[in-house]
Symmetry: C3
Subunit: 358 residues, 3 copies
């Protein structure tokens, strides 16, 4: 852990200090738990009230709080940054760094094929199995229990956490992180039904994770039947995500936990998919599309759209519409009542039925 | 397996025998499959009819069946218990016991750091890896392929099933059970987006599983960014559950398979969350809240509420409302028809339009 | 890889050649990517337009395209087959074969109990653990990191991918495939709540996978409490699927990724369950039932039904009804407007209120 002054941190993240720049910061915490020596941040408006009560040494905020600070409404020292969350991230990296991986070299308890090629400075832990014709770049860390099947290629500086399985032929880029118990390149779910049973289709496409991809734990990235499955450069997947065969996830997408994307779907770049959302196969999702949690996407989506619901529709419309499901019993009752009122009016306007009402 | 008389079982679970207390019980089964020598139970009203037809040696029931038994409507011997399901559980434990774990000691094929500390009577299986500075209590069973990262603490009498990964610094209480292929303490899904890419935020919180927690298979319990992620004492998680970073699950909660709880959410004690339900981040769920399967919870929930739906609302209201989605086409058509009828009435009340109708 | 003429392929799959039967086919691809020497297929109408533009050597199509071919509208050589997808599958198997598993015999780095029995020609990889009294048939491939607990039985010709865990007593049929990181036979989620805590119920049923079952990655198949959990012959499960305790999946079912089936549910034969669908416990689903993605099934379903929605209803009705949720705000507003119009009409028909309106 590092100790820095607030002024040093401001320089590091290109932010402005409001208050005492000589405050010493050694750690970070949340607004409600931070104390002296801690830096924290405000990026979610929900917590704005805590800005007045926090005991933090300093808070990273956006420009819009400058006036409140100048008016003396905020007592805490501030770092005013264009993107407070990113400034906070840079400071976290400075103070704590990323996880350190012990330098262990290549364990004698790992099983590595004579035909596998390892780059320099790799740490290969106990009980790793690396099959024939695998190529691994330099600076990779492969944790215990990982299995890397025949012909897999892995770039430089990757981290593969324990018990990950990478099926044959998969291609992993540089600086890729795969968390524990995930699987890459297993057979796509492809069966042809004939004569009363389901016949497995050889899956000859592969799975490709491009540079800077991170995969959560317990994810399943199928290989393609014919086309390859691709997770584009810089995309980050949460935990327990299922990606179907031949699906293309674009670059710099964020997929939150438990998302499922069926086979042969295409997502553009910079898409964000909320938790538990599902996307059917064979559709095209544009660039910059935002899909809210639990949505069910069944049609193509144009660039830049934000959608929600199952079936998913434009989000502002969906928020209103789905929140009105609760009024369905009232609406139905109102409609019935209206029908009765109208029947009464109609019949009272009709001399024959008036007769019968006598 | 034990053989007991019905009377002995009654004493063991503090229940009343109705019928022959000398019947010998050696096993247990379901109402429809049980035969002589089997005990079974009725806890779900759905199966009440089978109480008259079961071939079981004895059935554990609640007080409300006493009258039917006294009237001779039920032929089978009964154990009348306050909580039949709990009585059945106690009898299952008596007759079968919990899974026995072979006493193997510490395998020579496990890789255990010299700086790790193991309590007495631990069984550490082949191909387990225990990293530096890990502390494990006494009486723990660690199955093959488990990886326990640096600085993890595990209490007494825990069972860690195969291929579980516990990331660095996690704290596991006493009598905790973690089923196969689950992951505890992986990095939270935290990225700051700037300059066109997503920057990983060091996750310096940890994951804590308190005493008597059970985690299913393929679960993912993220560590916190700043705050710790906590699964409270006695809580039980099913399979394929994702818990976000910094989330607090209270004590004695039950989370059914495939539940997802996003980061920084808080659940109180004694909550029950049905399968595939999702809870968004940064909300507060009170104590004793019941969330039905597939719900999507997006707002705070007060103590004791039962909710359902996506978005989730009070359950009795939700059941009615969601079951009426099927009537939407009818309702829409009725509304259109009413509009036409009213337009006609309005126009017939209007002399000018009457003119034009001639 | 094999090279075949189109005529040879036609004979192999019992199809008719339309065009030059001497074309040489060495590989397969998708309609839009295929080139000379590639065979492809058309099974999804969505891609029909590509039939006119594909550069493929040949395309497998159904009978209905014969006329277009005879009219010279399709330039590419065709294989006309009764079931194009199955014909394609057979050709894929012919050209590529299924995954080859290296013949390695029984690794010295595997830990195999002296009381375990292995059939002939098994490949048992490094770091596999096979516990006491396990029986494995002949021709099985068990990949690294697999754990097979006490008393498990596995039939002939099974493939168990890395880091799979099979709990004690499970029974696996012949030609079963279990993909990486899946778990079979873990304890059912069964707890009795009493005195403020949840008491674990010994789960004495087992998990049974019948012949020709395939299980995806990261699946969780619970053992039964009393009854066994059964996945019927020929059924195929995608990734990240949770099957509850005592549940029976019939024969030849297809369950797509992230499906959850709660305990004691019964599915008939030839059911298809779409991705992320959930099925509650203790219900009966007939034979040949089709459940669309993300459905929530809470009631018994008769043979042959197709359903969708949460709660799930008949699919054609559901598609219409759920697609109308978006109109709820309009409907509600219309109903209010109608009410006002009717109130006005009613009051204008009422002399007293007319009086008060003066």
């Amino acid at each position: 852990m590092q100790i820095k002054t607030l002024k040093e941190l401001a320089e590091h993240v290109n932010a402005t200090v409001f208050g005492d720049g000589n405050i010493k910061i050694s750690s970070a915490s949340t607004l409600d738990r931070a104390g002296e020596g801690d830096i924290t941040f405000l990026a979610n408006d929900k917590y704005e009230k805590q800005l007045r009560t926090t005991k933090a040494g300093a808070v990273i905020v956006s420009e819009k709080f400058r006036t409140a600070a100048e008016n003396g409404e905020i007592k805490t020292a501030l770092l005013i940054a264009e993107n407070p969350y990113y400034a906070f991230t840079q400071i976290m990296v400075l103070l704590f760094g990323h996880r350190k991986h012990k330098n262990i070299g290549v364990s004698e308890k790992a099983s590595i094929s004579a035909t596998a090629k390892l780059g320099e400075n790799c740490d290969i832990h106990d009980f790793v199995v690396i099959a024939d014709n695998v190529k691994i770049g330099s600076g990779c860390t492969i944790y215990p229990g990982v299995y890397i099947a025949e012909g897999v290629t892995i770039g430089n500086d990757c981290i593969i956490y324990p018990s990950v399985t990478i099926y044959d032929g998969s291609i992993i880029g540089e600086r890729v992180i795969i968390n524990a118990n995930s699987t890459v390149g297993e057979d796509g779910f492809g069966f042809a039904t004939a004569n009363g049973s389901h016949h497995k289709i050889p899956q000859v496409g592969i799975a490709i994770l491009e540079d800077d991809v991170e995969i959560g734990t317990c994810c399943a990235i199928e290989r393609g039947t014919l086309d390859d499955t691709v997770i584009g450069k810089g995309s980050k997947l949460g935990d327990l995500i299922a990606i179907g065969h031949g699906t293309k996830i674009g670059e710099h997408c964020l997929l939150v936990a438990q998302v499922g994307v069926a086979g042969s779907a295409r997502l553009g770049n910079y898409c964000v998919v909320g938790g538990q959302a599902g996307i059917v196969g064979h559709i095209n999702i544009g660039n910059g599309v935002q899909i809210a949690a639990q949505s069910g996407v069944i049609n193509d989506v144009a660039d830049g759209k934000a959608i929600f619901g199952s079936p998913a529709i434009e989000i502002s419309k969906a928020r209103r519409a789905y929140s009105m499901i609760q009024y369905l019993p009232d609406i139905r009752q109102s409609v019935r009542k209206l029908q009765k009122q109208i029947d009464k009016i109609t019949s009272s306007n009709n001399p024959d039925s008036q007769e019968s009402n006598k």
